[in-house]
């Protein structure tokens, strides 16, 4: 049994009097695709915000490997290897696609001012490598020919893919996708399905995703956590979740 990559235990998030998330427990194993589903307002994005360091949970613990990362600032968590996309895509809209990928590599680049000011070979090499990596990822998500286009001018599906590429270029260990299929047509959803599998298989990344598209979730996920009113009501493989009576009643039953 491999040790889990991400361990969330007893997670609770309270906003004033509102208990948005309570008693959330799950683990994501290396190489696993793990989905969180639940009706709107169930607290899924709040869990994401806690894991990615945008909220400081009011109780509970989050570990990456064996290291507690609870309540650390977002940029430190990102550097530790957890990066995310956003429900309402957050690209740098006036920067080009390739620049978006360069900014994402900031942590890995030569940011020494001296070598940059005098254009030392070390700096040039770092910049060239960064461009090459950017080209690689643009190719991967099918945006190579849009490299110099402003991100805000890309089509919606392209923006979603660019956002994923921007995450992947930071070489994360855990990728958080917040409703990646929202607004995509069936063809694009299918491509997304393939892309996520490919990332997992070839780039050694575990995926934690929130998604409303049930067919995508059921097909792609290794395990699923179902939430309702901020609490977990079921966890397991797609088959287990599908046959869980509480889940059927609360969520799938309404369809």
């Amino acid at each position: 049994m491999k040790s889990p990559l991400l361990t969330v235990s007893g997670l609770q998030m309270r906003f004033g009097g509102l208990l948005a998330v309570d008693g959330i427990e799950f683990q994501v194993n290396p190489g696993e695709i793990f989905a969180i589903i639940g009706p709107n307002g169930a607290g899924k994005t709040t869990v994401f915000n806690c894991v990615s360091g945008f909220y400081r949970p009011t109780a509970g613990e989050i570990r990456l490997d064996a290291r507690a990362i609870t309540g650390q600032p977002g940029h430190r968590i990102a550097r530790a290897g957890i990066v995310r996309t956003f429900q309402n895509i957050r690209l740098f809209r006036t920067m080009t696609a390739v620049e978006n990928l360069l900014v994402a590599q900031h942590a890995q680049l030569d940011t020494n001012w001296f070598s940059g000011l005098f254009m030392l070979p070390r700096f040039r090499r770092a910049e060239r490598d960064a461009l090459e990596r950017a080209a690689y990822w643009l190719e991967k998500v099918g945006l190579r020919e849009y490299a110099n286009r402003e991100a805000g001018n890309l089509a919606y599906g392209q923006q979603r893919r660019l956002e994923i590429a921007r995450c992947m270029i930071t070489q994360p260990r855990l990728l958080l996708l917040d409703e990646p299929a929202a607004g995509l047509n069936p063809q694009e959803t299918h491509e997304l399905d393939l892309l996520i599998r490919e990332l997992r298989d070839q780039h050694d990344v575990a995926v934690l995703l929130i998604e409303h598209d049930m067919s995508l979730v059921m097909e792609i996920s290794d395990r699923i956590l179902v939430m309702e009113y901020g609490r977990p009501i079921g966890i397991g493989t797609p088959a287990e979740v599908r046959s869980n009576p509480r889940v059927i009643k609360a969520y799938l039953g309404e369809e």
């Binding site: 940029h75 990102a78 990066v83 957050r90 900031h106 030569d110």
Partner: protein
């Protein structure tokens, strides 16, 4: 006739607004205050507003301003000739002090100080999107660093210049560290508060700064170790003695101009490199979406701090130069108005646009000098310009075009 009705209403409103302030002038005679009524300004204002409203001048002017071409510095034809253009401008700038009148050189030196301040603040406001209303504080730190180090320790300008820059940058870091996590408008107010605090401290710390009297007799810069004064200081040599030519105070004016030019070129060089470096990209990314930056592992505080400290550093350099040029400084030179003038330069030039900022700095400093009667209305017009620019052309006269790093297309890459 809706427009006629609006125009009449606007004219009436103008009359109400201007009557007590422009129409009735308070005159103090000893202990008593009397009113002198002069309706001319009111009449003119009312007429102006009436006509402007009737012709819908605001919309028309607005349309014209918006229709002004966007000068794109990354356009192909421009970038092809950019080296040529730069060379021409540089040569002209170098020849200028030897052919122009003494007064003109003096004004140009003054303007170059503002170019430097504008470029420095542009990093903070234009690139990093942080509204700093206390920018003048760093200018003051640079000026007082030089003045005090020179007075108390006899350090030379060229030693103090980097020290002044470093001091100002250190101040920027000390101040920036706690405040940079504040939201934009709060940041603006806090920096304003800090700027005022620094000025008040300079004004009241008599034992160190001589309070409101300021510091006099600050040494001029030297040129390769040669002094620019009529008489050499003990152990020093003056320029004219060294070359065996008669003394002319014009030499000092020219030397100061050239030093200012050198500083501006240095500033431009550094900034132009920085915007092509990861930190430059990070500034823009941060301005656009701080949350996305954090999610990718960029530390927003550190990145903002770099912009803040760098901007402060250039203000410090400009301050040290200012002190050495005038030879005397007082806290009164570092009021909020000064920050506002530099901000007006950045806003007019176009936030993030360096050529725009340079032109705006020249425009806003040289114009009041050329037309003396204009200088009375200088700040009035600055204020108006800021409002109108925000309404018509918030991106500035020459909007920023950051050099884009282009990825060659697949075909180009294969060639």
């Amino acid at each position: 006739m809706k427009s006629l009705k609006t125009a009449c209403m606007a004219a009436l409103l103008t009359a109400v607004l201007t009557l007590p302030l422009l129409g009735a002038h308070l005159v103090v005679n000893g202990l008593s205050t009397t009113l002198v009524v002069n309706l001319w300004p009111v009449g003119i204002a009312v007429l102006l507003v009436f006509v402007a409203q009737l012709l819908d001048l605001k919309a028309r002017l607005g349309a014209i301003t918006q229709a002004l071409p966007t000068v794109s510095l990354s356009s192909a034809s421009f970038s092809r000739h950019i080296r040529l253009w730069l060379a021409v401008v540089l040569v002209a700038a170098l020849i200028f002090p030897f052919v122009a009148s003494r007064g003109a050189v003096d004004v140009a030196t003054y303007a170059l100080t503002y170019v430097m301040l504008g470029l420095g603040l542009n990093i903070v406001v234009g690139f990093a999107g942080l509204l700093d209303l206390g920018y003048v504080a760093f200018y003051a730190v640079g000026a007082y660093s030089y003045a005090l180090l020179s007075q108390y320790f006899g350090l030379s300008f060229w030693v103090c210049l980097p020290i002044g820059g470093l001091f100002a940058a250190t101040f920027g870091i000390l101040l920036g560290f706690p405040v940079l996590r504040l939201r934009g408008d709060y940041l603006a107010i806090v920096t304003l508060g800090f700027g005022e605090i620094i000025r008040l401290v300079l004004n009241n710390w008599d034992s160190l700064t001589h309070g409101p009297d300021g510091i006099n007799g600050i040494a001029r810069p030297t040129v390769f170790g040669l002094e620019l004064n009529r008489r050499a200081s003990p152990g020093g040599t003056t320029l004219h003695e060294f070359f065996g030519i008669p003394f002319d105070s014009l030499y000092a004016v020219i030397a100061l101009y050239l030093i200012a030019l050198l500083l501006v070129i240095l500033t431009l060089f550094i900034i132009n490199r920085l915007v092509r470096m990861p930190v430059g990209r990070a500034w823009e990314a941060l301005r656009e979406d701080e949350i996305a930056c954090r999610s990718l592992g960029l530390n927003p505080t550190l990145i903002k701090l770099s912009a803040f400290a760098l901007g402060a550093c250039f203000a410090g350099l400009a301050g040290a130069f200012y002190a050495s040029r005038l030879g005397t400084i007082t806290p009164e030179s570092f009021t909020f108005i000064e920050s506002a003038v530099v901000l007006a330069i950045v806003v007019l030039g176009g936030m993030g646009s360096q050529i725009g900022v340079i032109l705006a700095a020249l425009l806003l400093t040289v114009l009041p000098e050329l037309a003396r009667s204009f200088s009375e209305y200088r700040m009035l017009i600055f204020g108006l310009v800021m409002v109108l620019m925000m309404i018509w052309r918030p991106q500035g006269l020459m909007p920023a075009t950051r050099p884009r790093l282009e990825l060659p297309t697949a075909e180009e890459a294969h060639q």
